[in-house]
């Protein structure tokens, strides 16, 4: 057990099956403190399912997911979030009818209970924190804008900001740069590097340039199992990985 505590996240023997189809099969995965880990793999490899399992959206058939000392498989989604796991969805999931400010404010980790929310006040502290995060995600000029009017890239940033304001220890991002322009991609890369201090980040990404840019370590998933794990160079030169990607 002592080894587990060194990791922020340790997944052991994780399996989930849908009607007999094993989307994730006896998976073992460990993420270090302050590590940026990128998960890659072909379509249907089970990448998103792994994120779903960690954040409690999908229930595991067997196996364990430990976040520090907490067993996540038995916790409900909001408890997992409160424990310090944040998750960004593949498509930007923000409140399009609220302003950027309100989006961030709702994500501010105070007043999370029913009566807490009733009594919640917009104090100077809240405003300061929202503005700080907005600067971080380059949206400080859009605080009053309705979120639905932002560009696709800005929406992705906003969702990252909504996670940041909660200051999670483990941040999970599902394809954060999909659909972004080259310039936005670059900015997002910088943003990720800025924010990964003091927290671990688990990223799913297809864009190899981007992965190379940010990853400390890369995990290749294939058919619900780990195919290869290691540095980007190592993974890229692995014949099995090449075969899977090129389809031979």
């Amino acid at each position: 057990m002592s080894s587990n505590t060194d990791f922020v996240l340790s997944i052991e023997d994780l399996t989930v099956s849908f009607d007999g189809f094993k989307a994730v099969d006896k998976l073992n995965l460990y993420v270090d403190k302050n590590e940026i880990r990128v998960v890659i793999g072909p379509n249907g490899a089970g990448k998103t399912t792994v994120l779903d399992l960690i954040c409690g959206k999908t229930r595991a058939t067997s196996g364990s997911i430990k976040f520090k000392d907490l067993e996540l498989t038995r916790m409900s989604e909001h408890q997992i979030v409160r424990a310090g796991v944040g998750r960004k969805f593949q498509n930007p999931s923000i409140y399009e009818n609220l302003t950027v400010f309100e989006n961030l404010e709702i994500s501010y980790p105070k007043g999370r209970s029913v009566f807490g929310a009733l009594a919640f006040k917009r104090t100077a502290e809240v405003v300061a924190r929202v503005e700080e995060i907005a600067r971080e995600i380059m949206l400080d000029e859009f605080l009053g804008t309705e979120a639905g009017l932002l560009s696709h890239g800005q929406k992705q940033w906003l969702e990252i900001g909504m996670l940041l304001i909660q200051d999670p220890e483990l941040l999970m991002l599902d394809e954060p740069v999909a659909g972004m322009s080259a310039r936005e991609r670059e900015l997002t890369g910088q943003l990720l590097r800025r924010i990964c201090t003091n927290r671990s980040v688990l990223v799913i990404e297809h864009d190899m340039e981007f992965v190379k840019n940010i990853a400390h370590k890369v995990t290749v998933l294939h058919q619900g199992k780990i195919l290869k794990e290691g540095s980007m160079e190592m993974v890229q030169s692995d014949p099995k990985v090449i075969e899977v990607y090129l389809g031979h």
């Binding site: 849908f18 009607d19 989307a23 399912t49 959206k57 999908t58």
Partner: protein, 293 residues
């Protein structure tokens, strides 16, 4: 004997639920006026019976078969019209559909009342539908019950073949599973929707015709069944025809067995309660497929 009481309740439930299973289960439309389509079928049958009596009494023994067809056609056409005028504008707002169709049911009830009067009416049954069949002494199987059961089986088979064996059924299933894609491969999805909805209504009409053999027809007859019917479909797992049968069977048997041991009111309360509690434990209903959500 008692088993047949359950079976005949089962056929009633299936008849009611079949149309709704298509409309609600396959299309996801909440049609609160479903009961009124049933009433349309029942009134059509009553009209046919009166016409037969007035103009060709010698035809009386056979009119019922035609009445079923007429009931289907009338309910189908009205369903077609309703879909065109109302439902198609509301596909993306199920809760609103619920309210609008409730309004429709009020209007239809008042139309029945104005056209046929507030009193209950009854179709004259051909003689071959009256009385009972005695396989052994002391056991009477009601003929009308048998008839309804037979009709239920026929209709279920027809629906099954339609949905799963015919080309049109394939289009319906394709549309419900992926509307965009279905449209992209050249299926006219609005047309599919309209016909599917009308078909569900038509089946309700047939159910209404069948009901005239066991109950009477009044402006509000249909609305009595609506909650039961929805529960049957939901309990079975919306989208699964097999589930609808299973749930109709289990609810019918449970209710008729309990009726045997306690008062009708309590049996009904306990059955509904059991259904709701099971639904709370298993919200997706009896039959449903686990998929990656």
């Amino acid at each position: 004997m008692q088993a047949f009481a359950g079976v005949s309740l089962f056929s009633v439930f299936v008849l009611m639920a079949l149309g709704l299973a298509i409309i609600f289960g396959q299309m996801g439309v909440i049609n609160m006026a479903h009961g009124e389509f049933l009433t349309i079928g029942a009134y059509s049958t009553v009209m046919m019976s009166m016409l037969a009596e007035k103009f060709m009494p010698e035809f009386l023994p056979y009119y019922f078969i035609f009445a079923i067809l007429v009931a289907f056609v009338v309910a189908f056409s009205i369903g077609y019209l309703v879909e065109f005028l109302m439902i198609r504008h509301l596909y993306r707002r199920p809760l609103d559909t619920l309210l609008a169709t409730w309004g429709l049911s009020l209007i239809m009830q008042q139309i029945f009342r104005s056209a046929f009067g507030a009193r209950e009416v009854s179709a004259t049954l051909p003689d071959w539908l009256m009385g009972s069949w005695q396989p052994v002494e002391g056991v009477d199987i009601p003929l009308n019950g048998l008839f309804v059961l037979g009709l239920t089986i026929l209709l279920s088979l027809a629906v099954f073949i339609f949905l799963f064996k015919s080309r049109w059924g394939l289009k319906v299933r394709a549309t419900t599973q992926n509307r965009l894609m279905a449209g992209a491969v050249g299926i006219s999805t609005p047309m599919v929707d309209r016909v599917t909805f009308a078909l569900g209504c038509g089946i309700a009409g047939v159910a209404g015709a069948a009901f005239t053999t066991i109950a009477s027809t009044g402006p509000t007859s249909g609305s009595l069944y609506i909650v039961d019917t929805f529960l049957v479909v939901v309990f079975g797992g919306a989208g699964s025809l097999l589930g609808t049968f299973a749930s109709a069977f289990s609810i019918a048997q449970a209710q008729s067995v309990m009726e045997f041991f306690m008062s009708g009111s309590m049996a009904k309360v306990l059955t509904l309660l059991a259904v709701i509690i099971i639904l709370m434990i298993r919200p997706e209903g009896l039959f449903s497929v686990k998929v990656r959500k």
